[in-house]
């Protein structure tokens, strides 16, 4: 093994070299290169390209966002949805708690109890969207396809409290307002005195 193999380690086998223009050596060659570049009119070609693009109709790439929206892939992972059974309309969730166990950011809380027929019933289901990283493990592990990701990606809000839960899909809003939301303590969770920091807006309250 010779030393050369070590000294040229930046060049892997099969490396293709780009044969760039050779750098001129003498002043006369510099002048020739500058002259040929000057008369080639590359700058004018650039001007022509942008002018043609300006007068072409209907080649704009702008999506005027609030009016137009790009189509989103069906497997896009946005805000969760809890689905209902097709036949009875009741919740698909059987309260197994796998999503709570697998959630790596610890943002799902599920509370179950036995109903009067001794069947398991989900009494409380919350997702802290301020902490959720939308990894999709919960939807993947769910045996009943009860929790899925929707394509609803417009979840900006004025208050962090809105990320405690998504009332239209998880918890009713009146329960949230009564401060019955259960959260795990930790980074991103609502603090005990979160309500005192909430400012009233005419939209939400």
């Amino acid at each position: 093994m010779s030393l050369e193999q070590f000294s040229k380690r930046d060049v892997a086998p099969g490396y293709i070299f780009y044969n760039a223009e050779e750098r001129p050596q003498s002043g006369w060659e510099f002048f020739k290169r500058g002259f040929s570049r000057a008369i080639k009119g590359e700058l004018l070609v650039g001007l022509k390209i942008v002018l043609v693009e300006m007068f072409k109709r209907g080649n704009t790439h702008t999506v005027s966002y609030p009016q137009e929206k790009l189509a989103i892939g069906p497997r896009y992972r946005a805000i969760h949805k809890l689905l209902r059974l097709q036949e009875s309309g009741s919740d698909r969730c059987i309260g197994c708690g796998l999503c709570e166990k697998i959630c790596i950011s610890n943002c799902i809380r599920i509370e179950t109890k036995l109903d009067k027929n001794s069947r398991k019933e989900v009494s409380q289901y919350t997702i802290n969207f301020g902490r959720c990283i939308f990894c999709g493990y919960c939807a993947e592990v769910c045996p009943e396809l009860a929790i899925v990701h929707s394509s609803d990606y417009e979840n900006a809000s004025e208050q962090r409290a809105h990320y405690g839960l998504r009332e239209d899909m998880l918890t009713p809003l009146d329960e949230f307002k009564a401060n019955k939301q259960q959260e795990f303590p930790g980074f991103g969770a609502l603090s005990d005195d979160a309500d005192s920091f909430v400012k009233k807006t005419p939209l939400a309250y």
Binding site: L47, V50, L51, E53, M54, T60, H61, S64
Partner: protein, 329 residues
């Protein structure tokens, strides 16, 4: 002193100030739209039809924004620097004839604020004094990007000033007058008498120097975002920031007028087109050229700019003067 002249001058000044400031504001919208269409975008669309009221929205925003003066800035200079840019740009317009003479109610109006006999020198000198705005702004900001912008202002001034001065010398030798009205009247005989045909090299050099003087794209190195954030204007906000841009667009309009009057026949009527329409067409074409070049071309490094101005353009300008002198003799 005849009070009628004073009143007439004041009225002209107010009209020039308001119309050019309005044109400068409108030019920002035109620039955004033209750049957008050239780059396959739409540009401002939501405020008014096709975003035409965007300039009103921008103006309200700029005027109502908080006026922030950095803690360690040299405050008096920091505050006065943005005023220099529009003041110099508008003062330069005092010697520019905008339109041909016209008659209102039997009174002949000459649309020039002051026909001084060194008009072209006055315009060039005052417009160059406007470079003090970025220089003082950058040096008083105590910000490294602003300081770099100020340093680049100086090398830009040193580079383009010699080219624009020498480029103008050759046509002035042919005309024999420095007054812009005389320069315009020299080209009264139709397209064939335009100086661009007899002085194409001077025309080219002066346009290149004009791009450098107005900090437009191939030479926008004093505020190039990718290198020095926003250059001299990094620490500015609100209307102080806006004043720089009023000055820049007013400078663009001045340079367009200068090029049109010096080389493209100015406000002389052509065939059935009246002179006022002719000069407006030329101004619009030049403003469009400024935007077009901005969309198409990359900008140069400071060393490339100095190399271009001192090693290429200045020898060409000198050669042009030499050949013009030999031909004139």
């Amino acid at each position: 002193m005849d009070w009628a002249i004073v009143i007439e001058t004041v009225i002209k000044t107010v009209i020039v100030l308001s119309v050019v400031a309005g044109m400068a504001a409108f030019a920002t919208w035109i620039e955004r739209k033209v750049l957008a269409y050239m780059q396959r975008r739409l540009g401002p669309m939501n405020v008014g039809p096709h975003g035409v009221l965007q300039l009103a929205a921008d103006g309200i925003k700029l005027f109502t924004k908080e006026d922030i003066v950095p803690q360690h800035a040299v405050k008096p200079i920091f505050k006065i620097a943005p005023v220099i840019a529009p003041v110099c740009a508008f003062t330069a317009m005092a010697a520019v004839p905008f339109f041909p003479e016209f008659t209102v109610f039997g009174y002949t109006v000459t649309p020039i604020i002051s026909d001084i006999n060194v008009g072209i020198l006055f315009v060039m000198g005052v417009a160059s004094a406007g470079m003090y705005a970025p220089l003082l702004a950058g040096m008083s900001s105590t910000n490294k990007w602003a300081l770099l912008g100020a340093a680049r202002t100086v090398i830009q001034l040193l580079s383009f000033e010699v080219v624009s001065g020498l480029a103008l010398l050759a046509p002035i030798m042919m005309i024999g007058s420095l007054s812009l009205i005389d320069i315009n009247d020299y080209q009264i005989g139709g397209i064939g008498s335009w100086l661009v045909w007899s002085q194409p090299m001077a025309f080219l050099l002066f346009v290149i120097a004009g791009f450098a003087e107005t900090n437009r794209t191939p030479f926008d190195l004093i505020e190039y975002e990718a290198e020095i954030v926003s250059g001299y204007a990094t620490d500015y906000s609100g209307m102080r920031w806006g004043l720089f841009f009023v000055g820049e667009y007013a400078n663009m309009i001045t340079v367009s007028f200068l090029v049109s009057i010096m080389f493209l026949g100015g406000y002389n009527p052509l065939w059935i087109i009246p002179g006022a329409v002719m000069i407006l067409i030329k101004i619009s074409a030049f403003i469009f050229l400024f935007l077009w070049v901005r969309a198409a071309w990359p900008h140069v490094r400071p060393d490339q700019m100095m190399w271009l101005c001192w090693k290429i353009l200045m020898p060409l300008a000198l050669l042009n003067i030499l050949i013009t002198g030999i031909v004139l003799i």
